[in-house]
Subunit: 471 residues, 2 copies
């Protein structure tokens, strides 16, 4: 036993003050230095693990030893998502107020399964999710003050699962799933297929509808597929439209899709995981088109709204379908507030029972930035992206692979797949930036996503310089 | 705009240092004072919300204003799960090293969906989950170095869902669910029913098997139910055994249940959400009996192992069934490390795609306490519980309602439901402690769960004094 650990083994409040100060300082320095690290970790499989003991320690170790391993072993194995030179996948931008909001949640250590177990957690979540309706100009049907409401989920994958479950409950309350059919575009996120399978439907019950030249779902193809399935005696029940596909930010025509859904009584879910945040900017509210006719909606503040994972906002227009799908009530959870129907019990709004106080971080982010600050940054990211688009268009060696309406550019070297693969590999190996790829029109395509908290014009310029130089 | 918020709207690293110090101090003071707060919040529905603005702020607000609202509005609406006088539901004990581990995870802000997106996150998780096998004396089949392995899930509800999905995949890889039947005891956690429904099975396909006088599943009743279903042409596929039921810590006879499962080829999942932690103490390893024949297992360090939510450890003996149930591979997630099969991609081990670096906090807890420290505290909680059991047995006005093998006592006043309800209400209204209830043998029963980080003998004594005085 060391001097750092008292006989009780617990970390005392004073020790927590001391070590907490060290951790805060470590993170502040990380924020200051993250730009200088190679963005993509270059460790080999197994390299991190083999530097750590194979078995747990018998005796307490000083906190300093753990922090030393963090620097020595963990940090070299980290791909720096918070680097301003991280342009891969999607942004996962975080911020000081979000980190501190999450810290307060950990410090309070409360469980929000029921209103009664933590009233403030439930009510703050309901309030903040209503704030977000205002902030993004979402339809009023998603407000908790009517028949709908919002809830924080861990991810868009889980939110979309809940949408599938609510739709399935409406179509087949007894879980007789025979003949149920779901629809999404062939460019939709892989989680739609995963969620449909989780919900017990065979993979063949998901129709992936073809897209147009902009990679957006063709509503006439959707209508034809639904009608063919109806004619075959099947039971169409669910459509997932995407506003901002993962691959290329394609925006499905939600109003035309809503026409099909209304005609045939299908549940319409809109997945705007990354792109939804754009709606804090009034001139970008085209991402909300048709949303007033959707049954459910989700977007991720943990992608592009300065809030660290996990924080997906999931909304339903009719909360009774969601609760009907997910509610079970054992004796040990019965309580007066719930039985009177006066409160929301979020355990009935998702799969897990327990839940952290996740609303705190989103509340803190919104209060720290204000609507004004959030607008400023989202607008700036989109403007930077549009500058990059212009640079790509002005260079003969490159071409845009898809429209870039928001903060993701899909482009490629005209030299073909092999050239693009080499370009991608060399860019990533340089450590100076991190990009990922997709395939569009069956051609290898580079994706450059702009949305990290501290990405400035100079980072995008440097990235483009390097891409051009390597080309 | 205030002086606290620079023109960029972002919180600078220096501002983060300053506010971070405030938050650390706030939490340290909370740790020091939590014992003095009324344990159960007494706010009325709507009271928290109405003290906050109905719409989001247009302009940035100073961090101090948010912290002031935390004290003024949020704290009175919080039920203090970290109070040493919290004896309700289950412990959700946290600790300094866990809070700081989670803080580091937020500060790094990395996404662990694939090994390639954050090698250290994946490898540390695999290592720590292997450490836990050692720490708890779990069977070797759950080690990642063989065919099995562990993963951190958000909750036992989600872990059990994954067990159902893996079992369903093994029994019906094409999701032809007709006739599938699952089994658990009538005392099992409500999440089993929820998970079976999520997985697309009708509620009627879950058999809740009767329990014995100790509230443990009767294996002969299970065998009879399975045989009857087979005779009726149905397809039994999944059994969930519980080690430590939520209601009364009943321990299902896992070895006898495993006999039934082996005989008929059923997937055996063992849910030890709270009680699993007991196995850090060698003399309490009866909780692992029969586990070497289970297909999957879960327990929650976020309940009784000083690790804050969310941290459920979920193990499978054959990871291929789990991955088969949950894997989908879109182009934008393809990468060399995954294709070579050299690494684990945890996105295929649960429903969400994105994931936090949750292994950090568990790693820090184990290193801070060492096996020695964890044993010390779990042993102490069980010993305190056994003292309380003796006090209850010595008082004629009270009776035990169930065996108390670990850290939960179910008891009641002999005066009947009405007396017990009044007792419960008055105890909770006192603010001095918080208990919850269950029903056993159709009689209202008080539950007293001992496992908060700072619960000492004096808190249990004071609780019992108050109970006796009120009685």
């Amino acid at each position: 036993m060391t001097t750092e650990v008292p006989r009780s083994f617990h970390m005392t409040p004073d020790e927590f003050r001391r070590q907490g100060a060290e951790v805060i300082e470590w993170i502040a320095r990380y924020m200051e230095q993250v730009e200088d690290y190679p963005v993509l970790s270059s460790v080999e499989p197994g390299e991190v693990r083999e530097q750590l003991p194979a078995t747990p320690p018998e005796h307490p170790e000083p906190f300093e030893a753990v922090m030393a391993d963090l620097d020595r072993v963990i940090l070299p194995g980290v791909t720096h998502w918070q680097s301003p030179n991280f342009f891969a996948y999607f942004p996962a931008n975080t911020s000081g107020p979000s980190i501190l909001g999450d810290l307060l949640s950990s410090g309070l250590g409360v469980q929000g399964l029921l209103w009664a177990t933590r009233p403030a957690c439930t009510e703050l979540e309901t309030l903040v999710l209503d704030w977000v309706v205002d902030l993004l100009g979402l339809p009023e049907r998603f407000l908790s003050t009517g028949d709908g409401g919002g809830v924080i989920q861990d991810s868009a994958s889980s939110a979309t699962l809940c949408a599938v479950l609510a739709a399935r409950h409406r179509a087949a309350p007894d879980n007789d799933l025979a003949g149920l059919v779901a629809y999404t575009s062939e460019q939709a996120h892989s989680s739609v297929e995963k969620d449909v399978r989780v919900a017990g439907l065979p993979a063949s019950s998901l129709r992936t509808i073809e897209v147009d030249e902009r990679f957006a779902l063709r509503p006439e193809a959707l209508a034809a597929a639904v009608e063919a399935d109806l004619a075959a005696g099947l039971r169409p029940f669910f459509v997932c439209a995407t506003v901002g596909t993962t691959s290329s930010t394609a925006i499905d025509p939600v109003p035309a899709i809503a026409d099909v859904c209304e005609r045939h009584g299908l549940w319409l879910h809109v997945d705007a995981a990354m792109s939804g945040s754009a709606a804090v900017v009034p001139e970008l509210r085209f991402v909300n088109d048709g949303l007033d006719r959707a049954d459910s909606y989700c977007f991720d503040p943990h992608k592009w709204l300065f809030t660290n994972f996990d924080c997906d906002c999931f909304y339903v227009a009719d909360r009774s379908a969601l609760i009907g799908a997910l509610s079970v009530l054992p004796e040990y959870l019965r309580n007066a507030a719930s039985e009177q129907g006066a409160v929301i019990d979020y355990r009935d709004w998702h799969v897990p029972l327990g839940r952290r106080f996740r609303a705190l971080k989103l509340w803190m982010v919104i209060r720290h930035y204000g609507a004004e600050g959030l607008r400023h940054h989202i607008r700036r990211h989109v403007a930077l992206t549009q500058e990059l688009v212009a640079w790509i268009e002005a260079d003969d060696r490159f071409e845009l692979a898809a429209p870039a309406p928001l903060n993701l550019v899909c482009f490629r070297h005209v030299g073909g797949d092999e050239v693009n693969q080499r370009l991608l590999d060399e860019l990533n190996a340089s450590g100076a930036l991190h990009l990922t790829h997709t395939r569009l029109d069956d051609r290898l395509t580079l994706r450059l996503s702009i949305g990290q908290t501290h990405t400035e014009r100079r980072h995008v310029e440097a990235a483009w310089d390097r891409i051009r130089t390597l080309a």
